[in-house]
């Protein structure tokens, strides 16, 4: 089949290189089976610890499991959770998963490229691309002030929750959390996750 659009060799190279960057991060992005059958995303933030959304694990009736890209399943338990920030920290002791490279979200600029890795509609490790659409603050549920967040135009679907938002260097800059109005993806900035973890249980 001949391509509809002519892609210059440089552009083709760019697409190939993006795939290369993502390939390196894939082992650090996992699938979390908690609430709901489809499974959501999670990011190996530090050795033996996965960060995901609170709403992914809240009220999980079955035992929590984390599945890595090589297909291995690991038992997980919640170490800490914040409903306010929609964050949860899972312990996956013994899983030997490599932590993802984490970048500072403070350096993000509107218009820069971002990639989302997650499991939309249960399809594992799907990558979507977009740009940072806006940087702002959202009211925290329960009237506890504002939390900074990243808005992007990457296509997200159920199953992307808890998955990684990566910048063009392949570093995790956010955790995808939800979609507003059908086309605006919202992610929790990596700096918010970092501060939350630093405060620690």
């Amino acid at each position: 089949m001949s391509p509809v659009l002519e892609v210059s060799p440089e552009a083709r190279g760019t697409v190939g290189l993006a795939a290369e960057i993502l390939e390196r991060v894939r082992p650090s992005i996992v699938r979390v089976h908690g609430r709901g059958a489809a499974g959501a995303g999670g990011v190996v933030w530090r050795p033996n610890a996965v960060v995901t959304n609170h709403h992914v694990v809240a009220g999980a009736r079955r035992a929590l499991r984390v599945v890595s890209v090589d297909g291995r399943a690991h038992a997980a338990r919640v170490l800490d959770a914040s409903r306010r920030l929609d964050l949860a920290l899972l312990d996956v002791a013994g899983a030997e998963l490599a932590p993802a490279p984490i970048g500072p979200s403070a350096r993000l600029r509107v218009g820069e490229l971002v990639f989302a890795v997650g499991h939309p509609w249960g399809q594992p490790w799907v990558v979507t691309v977009g740009v940072v659409s806006g940087l702002g603050a959202l009211p925290i549920p329960g009237g506890a002030g504002l939390a900074p967040y990243i808005r992007s135009d990457v296509r997200l679907a159920p199953g992307n929750s808890g998955g990684a938002l990566l910048d063009a260097r392949g570093e995790v800059v956010g955790l995808n959390a939800m979609v507003i109005g059908g086309d605006l993806a919202v992610a929790i900035p990596s700096d918010v996750v970092r501060r939350w973890l630093a405060a620690g249980p």
């Binding site: 218009g111 808005r151 063009a168």
Partner: protein, 306 residues
């Protein structure tokens, strides 16, 4: 590892370029307050002059413009053009540099960014490609010569914002008001020209004959030797309109204007551009099987009530 880092640097360069492009045009993208509770966007195209989306400027007065910082600036409506969904606002005290505009026409497949300042003075962007370049197309106010279609997400309030290329120069003015929510852009050269016309005259001249018509098939015996199979049957004549004044009758079949064949309403609209306003043109009609040539002075389409 170093080698990979060097190679993948290409992706982050492209990313940096996109962010630079948004920042570059962003200074000239303003928030336009022209309807209750739902601000829209605008582009500074000349000193103190802003192009906005006509449909988002619902009021005639009490208009204002906001930049990234600084006071809310009062704006005055210079003019509006329904056919292109563009309006021009004059904003005294606006010291923003006009947006850079590319002289190159949009190409299908090229990367684009949609940039708006929809609310809270916050700059927003989305990414896509040029999906199509088309036109002329009939719109609610007449004919639009050319449009750009993109798959970049038009967030609420993006109408009046800029569609830019990867270097941060404007390719066109975005609007979802022309085609039922679809993201279209009026190409830069056309938008800037229409804006200048609005500044000069307060309206964009569009030709008007004052007829109501419907396309009809012309039986072979009544074609008066012409080959065209269809024409426009005149079913309505506005009183004291150019067509009535210069001799067009109900029941005539319009077949040509200014030497160009007219098969349907689209063809007629395309021929009634602003350049023909005030000019006498030849109008050919079939009347009782004979071809008659009339000289009709094209009028200006009367303004429509909103």
């Amino acid at each position: 590892m170093t080698q990979i880092a060097d190679r993948t640097h290409v992706v982050s360069s492209l990313s940096d370029q996109f962010a630079d492009a948004v920042e570059r045009v962003g200074r000239a993208v303003v928030q336009v307050n022209g309807r209750p509770r739902r601000p829209s966007s605008g582009v500074v195209y000349a000193p103190t002059l802003v192009i906005a989306a006509e449909h988002a400027v619902e009021r005639e007065e009490d208009l204002s413009v906001e930049t990234a910082s600084g006071p809310v600036l009062a704006a005055r409506l210079v003019g509006r053009d329904l056919a292109s969904d563009l309006a021009v606002l004059r904003v005294p005290g606006l010291d923003t540099e006009p947006a850079p505009r590319t002289p190159t026409p949009a190409r299908v497949g090229q990367f684009v960014l949609a940039v708006g300042r929809p609310a809270g003075r916050e700059l927003m962007a989305s990414m896509g490609i040029v999906s199509a370049v088309g036109g002329p197309v009939r719109t609610r106010g007449g004919m639009l010569d050319q449009y750009i279609r993109t798959d970049a997400t038009p967030y609420p309030g993006f109408s009046g914002g800029a569609l830019i290329d990867a270097s941060g120069t404007a390719l066109g003015i975005l609007t979802t008001g022309l085609a039922g929510g679809v993201a279209l852009a009026v190409p830069g050269a056309l938008a800037w020209r229409l804006a200048e016309t609005l500044v000069r005259q307060g309206y964009v001249p569009r030709g008007w004959l004052g007829i109501g018509s419907q396309p009809v098939h012309i039986p072979t015996a009544q074609r008066a030797g012409r080959e065209h199979e269809t024409g426009l049957l005149i079913v309505e004549l506005a009183p004291d309109s150019p067509a009535q004044r210069d001799g067009v009758l109900l029941g005539d079949i319009l077949v040509a204007l200014d030497g160009q064949a007219v098969d349907d309403g689209e063809a007629l609209q395309a021929l009634l551009g602003g350049d023909r306003v005030g000019r006498p043109v030849t109008v050919q009609v079939l009347r009782g099987g004979a071809l008659i040539t009339l000289d009709v002075t094209v009028g200006q389409r009367p303004g429509r009530a909103r």
